[in-house]
């Protein structure tokens, strides 16, 4: 019997131990603010959430492209049009309304793009943080409300997105590190949207850089990168080479990537079995 493997078949998903990703509330402070129907801005380590009457109306994170980048990258709105809207309506905090009323952006398009960007930034803002959050009462964003989102819905979605990433590939390394193609020769064809992400992988850019370059929500890039990592196509760039000290004693703790294994795997990187072993090793380490 001959086994025919379609070139598009991705390797089967490795079994993954299910860990609870829900747990306690993402931000007890945010839930309190929702309960008291607060208006203002919540400043967290990885970005900000704007609240109006206890609902989230806007979110920003340095890790995600802003609405301006998302709207102008595809050419639907030019940078001049955006600047004019901010200049004309920024003070009144009605930039969103102005974009629609002046015919620059359709109402539905603004809602789709802005709501997508809100959930996108909130995913990072509500991510693990080691610094205390602050809330400034009264502040409103200059864009104005587009489509307010209840805090509970935002938290549910953020938890669901974490689980989604974990299910695709449990190692979060590709979320934030500079990326490289794992092995060009073994690459199967990838879907067009993943191809666009792959085209930006250059050993320097991170997921956030790629999202900005493509004008695409950052979570979408994370999903595609995890899929590419699961398929063994993309991996993180190795850290800058360490200097070699032959006289020095070997380190007391074994390194997380034991060198004998790397040496064993190094000679023929094109061998698909080696790629499989690498993915197995990565998956085991990520558990």
């Amino acid at each position: 019997m001959t086994l025919v493997r379609s070139p598009r078949t991705l390797p089967p998903r490795l079994p993954v131990r299910h860990r609870p990703v829900g747990g306690p509330a993402l931000s007890p402070m945010l839930q309190r603010l929702a309960a008291e129907r607060a208006t203002g801005v919540l400043l967290r380590e990885r970005g900000t959430l704007y609240l109006c009457d206890g609902q989230v109306v806007h979110a920003e994170s340095p890790e995600t492209p802003g609405l301006d980048v998302l709207l102008t990258t595809g050419g639907g709105l030019d940078a001049e049009g955006w600047r004019e809207a901010v200049a004309q309506a920024g003070e009144r905090r009605r930039v969103g309304r102005y974009l629609v009323d002046s015919g620059r952006v359709a109402e539905g398009a603004l809602e789709l793009c802005h709501t997508g960007a809100l959930f996108d930034a909130a995913f990072f803002v509500l991510g693990p943080s080691s610094a205390p959050a602050r809330f400034r009462y009264g502040d409103a964003h200059w864009l104005g409300a587009v489509r307010p989102v209840p805090v509970a819905a935002l938290e549910r979605e953020t938890v669901r997105r974490r689980a989604l990433l974990h299910r695709i590939w449990p190692d979060p390394a590709t979320d934030s590190a500079p990326l490289i193609r794992a092995d060009r020769r073994a690459e199967p064809p990838v879907p067009a949207r993943q191809e666009a992400v792959l085209g930006q992988v250059d050993g320097v850019r991170t997921a956030a850089d790629i999202s900005r370059a493509l004008g695409r929500p950052a979570f979408h890039t994370l999903v595609d990168l995890r899929r590419l990592a699961a398929a063994g196509i993309v991996t993180t760039a190795p850290p800058a080479p360490r200097r070699h000290h032959p006289d020095r004693m070997p380190p007391a703790h074994p390194s997380p990537h034991p060198d004998p294994v790397s040496a064993l795997l190094a000679p023929s990187p094109a061998d698909p079995d080696v790629a499989l072993l690498r993915r197995l090793r990565d998956a085991l380490e990520a558990l």
Binding site: G76, E107, G116, E157, R193, Q194, E195, P217
Partner: protein, 132 residues
């Protein structure tokens, strides 16, 4: 110019419409929902429909002849139709000028609905939603 809610309300005016949603197929996020959901939960339905839409949009087998990928902002697939004993699902991909992965999902009663009409109307709604 219609927003998400106006678009969904319009979808519910179609004969036999049971529920409708606007969904992002990369994340599975329901951007807007109206009416009933199969199984009673719009968020779960959105995540499951998104999986189906993603497979259709990503696999070369379903792309038009000669155009394997995304031609500009045009999704390679226009719509998806799933039928079962008592209902239809119509998933219509939305073309946007910005980078997105959005579709309209209409859930239709088989006894009262008109699949051909729903399919045409949903396509028109998808156009108006983003072009005004």
């Amino acid at each position: 110019m219609p927003g998400i809610d106006e678009c969904l309300v319009e979808a519910m005016r179609l004969p036999g419409a049971l529920g409708a949603a606007v969904v992002d197929w990369t994340s599975g996020l329901a951007l807007g929902t109206v009416g009933e959901a199969p199984g009673g939960d719009h968020e779960t339905t959105a995540a499951e429909a998104a999986e189906l839409a993603r497979i259709a949009a990503e696999h070369r087998a379903f792309a038009p002849e000669g155009g394997a990928g995304w031609d500009g902002e045009d999704p390679p697939v226009e719509d998806l139709i799933v039928s079962n004993r008592d209902t239809y699902h119509v998933l219509r991909f939305v073309r946007t000028t910005f980078d997105s992965s959005v579709f309209l999902h209409l859930w239709l009663s088989r006894a009262d609905g008109n699949l051909a009409l729903a399919r045409i109307r949903l396509g028109e709604m998808a156009g108006r939603l983003v072009l005004g």
